[in-house]
Amino acid sequence: MIADWQLFTGFAFFIIMVLIAGLYCILVTRNLMRVVIGLELLTKAVTLLIIIAGYVTGRIALAQSLVITLIIIEVVVIAVASGVILSIYRHNESLAVSNLDSLKG
């Protein structure tokens, strides 16, 4: 039991680092593609967190089914986000977030 908890905290330590990297990428960047890449990093960290939580609690089958669902949703989100980015690029000729100030309803 204690070994499982130590394993979880050890993995969580590294997962928090990836979460920080993803969050920083979303907050600091001015490029739309990088925002999506930051989102992807956050998702990867959460995926690993679900797997390690399932592993230490003995519910690995449930964790795997949740991760599969998460991956399906992730890929759809990324595909639609890429389409939106391309549409914005065709309209503005730029991927800079600062140029997206022409929303007039």
Partner: protein, 163 residues
């Protein structure tokens, strides 16, 4: 935690940092794929082969292909713009390794109770049986999300009718 786990997790963090900090979008995408590949190995080691296969095929393969396709459809920056952006990027992104190191030290100094009681382990079946028999609503949700994605893409790339 074995030494291999620590090496893999460190490599994962390094790849994630490289993904965020590198200037080129293409290199950033490759870094993301590399992070995903390392996570796949970790998943295999944590007795999750089904999730690992999904991660490898979808996240490492398909999403990287989608990103590279998107990048290839965008016009590259001029030399002047690259130099200007590089200076700007260094100013904004050099804080990230410092933040990661500070948070790492803070987490190591944090006193985490070592005698935390984990829930009792359950004897669960196969993930495939669980997904098909117990969590059918998840599958229904996945189908709905996939269809929503397909319709979203179709609407985004719909050609406007010529008058």
């Amino acid at each position: 935690m074995t030494i291999i786990d620590i090496i893999l997790l460190t490599a994962m963090v390094m790849a994630a940092l490289w993904t965020v900090m590198t200037r080129s979008l293409l290199k950033s995408t490759i870094g993301l794929a590399f992070t995903s590949a390392i996570i796949t190995i970790i998943m295999f080691r944590l007795d999750s082969p089904l999730a690992a296969v999904f991660e490898l095929s979808v996240c490492t393969g398909l999403i990287t292909a989608v990103f590279i396709s998107t990048i290839s459809l965008v016009r590259p920056l001029t030399h002047k713009q690259i130099i200007q952006l590089s200076k700007d990027r260094i100013k904004r992104f050099w804080y990230l390794p410092a933040i990661v190191i500070i948070v790492g030290i803070a987490l190591m100094c944090l006193k985490i109770p070592a005698d935390f009681k984990m829930p009792a382990k359950l004897a669960q079946g196969d993930a495939r049986n669980l997904l098909w028999n117990s969590r059918q609503l998840d599958l229904f949700g996945q189908i709905v999300v996939l269809l929503a994605g397909v319709f979203g893409i179709v609407l985004l790339f719909k050609e406007t009718k010529k008058k």
